[in-house]
């Protein structure tokens, strides 16, 4: 298998949403065949062009998946499976990226605010953004404001995503923004807010940079900021 064929195979496996060999794909006939993880490991062993692998294999695959989703052929589970495959690949590639001349898209810090234990939306956003090439720092659920501010200081993320499902806990988002201002770090990070009770008006009122109704809007927003 040539290097170009290997990268094409990685692209196909991303489209199929296959992380490891035991995963089924979207189409029939993939079970047992090496998947994204095994193929990326092989590429590293062969000292393949990792930049091409990321651009043509992983990003190219995700772009195709985005098209399938828009046309209705793919649903969210298919998108997430593909994003997960890319995320796993990026974890494996991380130590090799600098040497390959690939720049990270940066860190994305994400948390469900204090008092709120809901994390499905947050996890989906994490998977999608990781699939889009960001380094995710996930602080989990019920995270106190001080801990979020401390993490911003420590990790220096480009983006901070705050999630809440309850009308009672969404107010906590405002506390996070005020604390970032007090600590003099508000301008260092773009703040994205999301979750069922939130809205663009709410985001504007508390001084967030953007409201995202779903994971796709988060991917779009971060992409626009990077452009």
């Amino acid at each position: 298998m040539s290097e170009a064929e290997l990268i094409e195979k990685i692209r196909t496996n991303v489209i199929q949403g296959r992380v490891t060999a035991e995963d089924e794909g979207f189409d029939e006939g993939f079970e047992g065949e090496p998947a994204t993880v095994e193929l990326v490991e092989e590429a590293i062993d062969r000292e393949a062009d990792l930049k091409a692998l990321i651009i043509d294999g992983l990003t190219g695959g995700m772009n195709a998946v985005g098209g399938y989703f828009e046309s209705g052929r793919y649903l969210i589970p298919d998108m997430l499976a593909s994003a997960e495959a890319v995320g796993e690949a990026m974890d494996i590639l991380a130590p090799h990226l600098e040497g390959a001349g690939v720049q990270s898209k940066g860190r994305f810090l994400i948390a469900t605010v204090k008092g709120d234990l809901h994390d499905i939306g947050k996890n989906i956003v994490s998977i999608m953004l990781k699939g889009a090439g960001y380094e995710i720092v996930d602080l989990g659920t019920d995270v106190p404001t001080e801990k979020i501010v401390q993490a911003v200081r420590e990790h220096g993320p480009r983006f901070l995503g705050l999630s809440a499902l309850l009308t009672t806990t969404m107010r906590e988002m405002e506390n996070v923004i005020r604390s970032l201002e007090s600590a003099g770090m508000r301008d260092t990070v773009k703040v994205l807010v999301g979750g069922a009770p939130t809205s663009p008006e709410f985001a504007q009122k508390i001084g967030a940079d953007v409201h995202c109704a779903d994971a796709f809007q988060a991917v779009d927003y971060t992409g626009e900021q990077a452009a």
């Binding site: 949403g17 995963d23 089924e24 979207f26 649903l75 969210i76 589970p77 298919d78 997430l80 499976a81 997960e84 499905i120 996890n123 989906i124 994490s126 998977i127 996930d138």
Partner: protein
């Protein structure tokens, strides 16, 4: 026998209203109606058959007899009815197996409405705020024609949850007469769907012509026996308890020829039968059993189906009422009674009292689909497109009904909790709990593709608007654009040659026929 016929849905542990004791009580009541009150029989031959088989037959008046059927005679006759009836189809994979011992449920269309309701979308502007616009469905009533019947059959072919075809519109073309009515309605149906075709017979004189057509399509006399592509419905009893001349004669002839047929009765609770559950079910059961018994006296083993269509009468106009809670009670009870006698059950669900598609129609339809299917009725007719009782057939409503019946069938599928299923689920739970994100979405993919996982309502509107009818209309157009699975040329030729009375224009391509039909 796993392949070679439609699978329908087999209901595990059917829903039952009646206890064993209540069933026995209703059986005794029906027997006592037939034995003590008796039937008023307007058919001479039937009176003769009943008399020869041990019934008390006396002259009632010039035109009718009083027939009293002793319980033992009734029981013996009903026992001879087969518990399994096969209904064939042009495509044998579309055949149906009705087995009284197995609650395998099929849904189909019916029956003989006068109005065909077309729909299209128009944009309306608010008088209060002209910047606000809405797309709304506008309905147009048309009369039933042979061409529209052909279109209905073509739609039936494409609706995946429709298991059998009973014509949903009356044909009222000017060149349709009593004599050619039957051959044209059966031909328009059979030429446009490969599913089972059932209908009533307008004129007994046409029975042999219809059977000749069916033989030519099935591939001969013997082939038709193995694969009866057509079957019949006869309503022998006009409620209460009057065995009418013409429908009874049809029953006798169907039984003689051993073609599958339904003995159907449709009393109205409150007008032609007691409104109370006990009285309604005892009476309709007696009416149906009298027909089944007669068929078995004529020809033991004749393939007959227990046809129950009990409805409520509404008290503001005495019309039939299908969306009433009593309708479900009556029908579920009848399904149980049919099972009690070991005869497959033709039942009823999905008629809207509403005259247009919408909230009322959907409620009334689903309200009856669910309990009747859950009770394990083998053959549920009237389930597609019917509105305004049975006066209107609306194709776009049939598309919606197909979706909703699919959901009902999916709900009724047997549980999948085998050792293998449990093992796979535990493995999934282990994997997800070992992952960071703890999400099961990845494991939904296969089910979404093979249909074992429900995706979402396909006619959902966007941006706060109700897009159901507009989307269903688009789906309807797509279904109608699909090619017809036409009869082979030589079969078509043989039918036109061997069966008199079929209109020449039915020979033309169905699509051209549709265009010609236009908005007439």
């Amino acid at each position: 026998m796993g392949e070679g016929f439609r699978q329908g849905v087999v209901v595990r542990s059917p829903f039952e209203r009646l206890s064993g004791e209540e069933r026995e009580r209703l059986d005794r009541a029906s027997r006592s109606i037939l034995d003590e009150v008796g039937l008023q029989c307007f058919n001479d031959e039937a009176a003769d058959v009943f008399a020869r088989n041990g019934c008390a037959v006396t002259r009632e008046d010039e035109r009718s007899f009083r027939v009293k059927i002793p319980g033992a005679v009734l029981g013996e006759a009903v026992k001879r009815a087969p518990s399994r009836v096969k209904l064939g189809a042009r495509d044998p994979r579309n055949a149906l197996v009705l087995d009284a011992r197995l609650p395998r449920v099929y849904f189909g269309s019916g029956s003989e409405t006068n109005i065909w309701l077309d729909a299209h979308m128009e944009t309306f502007r608010s008088e209060e705020d002209p910047s606000r616009r809405r797309r709304l469905a506008v309905f147009t009533e048309r009369r039933g024609t042979v061409a529209r019947l052909a279109r209905a059959a073509r739609l039936a072919e494409q609706l995946e949850h429709l298991d059998f075809f009973i014509r949903p519109v009356n044909v009222q073309d000017e060149d349709i007469t009593e004599q050619n009515h039957d051959v044209n309605k059966f031909y328009a149906s059979l030429a446009n769907t490969t599913k089972h075709v059932m209908a009533g017979l307008t004129s007994l004189s046409q029975l042999d012509n219809v059977l000749r057509m069916a033989e030519l399509i099935a591939g001969g006399k013997e082939a038709l026996k193995d694969n009866p592509v057509v079957s019949f419905i006869t309503c022998t009893v006009k409620s209460p308890l009057q065995m009418v001349d013409d429908a009874t004669q049809k029953l006798i002839e169907f039984a003689r020829r051993e073609v599958p047929f339904v003995v159907s009765s449709s009393p109205q609770g409150g007008s032609t039968a007691p409104v109370q559950e006990a009285g309604m079910v005892a009476q309709i059961n007696a009416e149906i059993l009298s027909g089944i018994a007669l068929s078995q006296m004529v020809n033991p083993g004749a393939p007959v189906v227990y046809g129950s269509v009990p409805v409520r009468s509404r008290m503001d106009n005495l019309h039939d009422m299908y969306g009433a809670p009593e309708f479900n009670r009556y029908n579920v009870d009848c399904v149980q009674m049919a099972r009690h006698y070991g005869v497959p059950c033709y039942s009823t669900a999905g008629v809207g009292d509403s005259s247009v598609p919408g909230m009322q129609a959907t409620l009334e339809k689903i309200f009856t689909y669910l309990p009747v299917a859950m009770s394990g009725a083998q053959y549920i007719h009237y389930a597609f497109g019917l509105l305004e009782r049975t006066n209107v057939f609306c194709p776009v409503q049939a598309v919606l009904d197909n979706q909703h019946i699919g959901m009902v069938k999916m709900f009724l599928e047997s549980p999948r909790v085998s050792e293998e299923d449990i093992g796979a689920s535990l493995e999934q739970i282990r994997k997800v709990m070992a992952s960071r994100q703890k999400l099961y979405v990845r494991f939904v993919r296969r089910g979404l593709r093979d249909g074992s996982v429900y995706a979402h309502y396909p006619f959902e509107g966007a941006d706060g608007t109700d897009g159901v009818i507009e989307k269903a209309l688009a789906r309807l157009e797509e279904l109608w654009s699909r090619p017809v699975r036409a009869l082979p040329g030589e079969v078509k030729d043989a039918v036109f040659e061997g069966v008199p009375g079929i209109l020449g224009r039915l020979r033309e391509d169905a699509r051209e026929e549709m265009i010609k039909e236009g908005n007439r």
